[in-house]
Symmetry: C2
Subunit: 287 residues, 2 copies
């Protein structure tokens, strides 16, 4: 596995691969890798001839006061995991943005997905998705992959990147992979490492609440308010401080009152200092 | 010369060329071509092995009430000119945006260059450069050129596209070409065709004013206010309704008081219904 630290080196590597007719599959990450990330690498290996991952904690998607400074980092461990997972190359940039203070004017270009950025996580993190779309556009232009693989735990991010790719005509197939969970159902996340033992014990309530909701929908429930209320109650009962519980149209992420199309039930809740997200797609019950 | 109407056909053409090791140079236009555009095609031929132009009047860079509906169009004439200029391919899309009303959510992704979009033309046309950056990002992703050639009559656009390319890591060399002028000095523009005979006769006052300013700077003048006042007077005296006359840092386009670095003297003025722009780069006089 080759470790590349500059955009030029990555582009040269990718063009060399594609010049040989190889399909390049790309897995962008913020590091501190877990089995969820590695499932993306596995899918990339299935779909591509060569796999490149990136490890970069993107500053533009954190607001002041968010957890950029304490976001967990373990570059050495990440490199071992990516090598063992069969990555061919890793992009490990020091920084991707031109900063104030040099001769050149600082970075000032941003990509916004105006509608999909607003609901759910966008409501409490107003510049988050602008940062995500911008860094992914940059990485896409550097790596020039044929395929990019994202996790559907970050469902809104996945939909937003797909929308960006469609709207800006990126020649990239964006693949979404299902959430990977711990044995007790907690969605894997780099942030789980920061949960206290008590919060770690209680956090699987999120998945239990989503599973019960899915079961009730399968049994015929279609009323969004009733479903949301029962999920909120279950999570609050486990000590979670709810940011949102929402039932949405899965394509636009706009709220819906009744499950009459493919829907997304999405949760964000704090357990202590740690903000966790999780979701489940729901199909309307057979009538 | 091959005429391509879909993004897929353009991408296939470009990848075929680049697969042979040929350098692809791209000239994006809004059609109604004049010698200014053709100078871009000539430069593209000098720098590239294959040249593709696009002809597309981009709706997202016009605000409601601007001249999108009356923007001059002459597709047949444009194709003849591009063929005679030695273009290898032309991209002639019907539309580049997904619209409200279909099954899919409409276009919602935009590229903004937050600082360079604000001064000069950005002040009176607040969404203009967002539309420009967005359509150019789309065209870059469709055409995948090695080189793109822009005219420096649209100086702010040229700087902004260069900034976007730098910030989003597009692997494209953006080249700027000097303004091409009529015999009387009027900068060539598709909009000149809409000038009345009287306004056409008076509009070269813009270039005379800029030339006089350049001569005064060469003779030692460095005071921005004095230079701007004299340009304003000359243009107003010829019946032009001034939108702006500004002396700016050529890199940031922020206003400057004294010419102590590479500067841009830029003008926008209406002659009748037609808004004309022009500019000249100025170097500080030798001290």
């Amino acid at each position: 596995m080759i470790v590349l630290e500059t955009a030029d080196a990555v582009r040269a590597w990718s063009r060399e691969c594609r010049g040989h007719g190889e399909v390049v599959a790309f897995v962008p990450t913020m590091g501190y890798l877990h089995k969820g990330h590695l499932s993306l690498v596995e899918e990339a290996r299935r779909r591509g001839d060569k796999v490149i991952a990136s490890v970069y904690v993107n500053p533009t998607q954190f607001a002041p006061g968010e957890d950029f400074d304490v976001y967990p980092r373990d570059t050495d461990g990440d490199l071992v995991k990516l090598r063992d997972a069969g990555c061919d190359a890793v992009f490990l940039p020091e920084d991707l943005y031109i900063r104030q203070g040099g001769d050149a004017p600082p970075h000032e270009t941003f990509v916004t997905v105006t509608e999909l950025q607003q609901p759910l996580c966008g409501a409490s993190r107003p510049t988050f998705f602008r940062g995500v779309a911008t860094v992914v556009a940059k990485l896409f232009n550097i790596v020039e992959p044929d395929i990019a693989v994202f996790g559907m735990k970050d469902y809104q991010q996945w939909r937003l990147i797909r929308r960006m790719v469609r709207d800006l005509n990126f020649p990239i197939d964006v693949v979404g992979m299902p959430i990977v969970r711990e044995a007790d159902g907690l969605a894997m996340s780099s942030r789980n490492a920061r949960l206290t033992p008590d919060h770690r014990r209680n956090a699987p309530a999120i998945f239990r609440a989503l599973s019960e909701a899915a079961a009730s929908v399968a049994a015929g429930e279609t009323d969004a308010a009733a479903i949301v209320a029962s999920v909120q109650k279950r999570i609050a009962g486990a000590g979670g401080r709810i940011d949102y519980v929402q039932l949405s149209d899965a394509l636009t992420l706009n709220p819906i009152d009744v499950i009459d199309r493919l829907a997304l039930l999405a949760v964000a809740a704090h357990f202590g200092e740690v903000r966790l997200i999780d979701n489940v797609e729901l199909v309307p019950p057979k009538s």
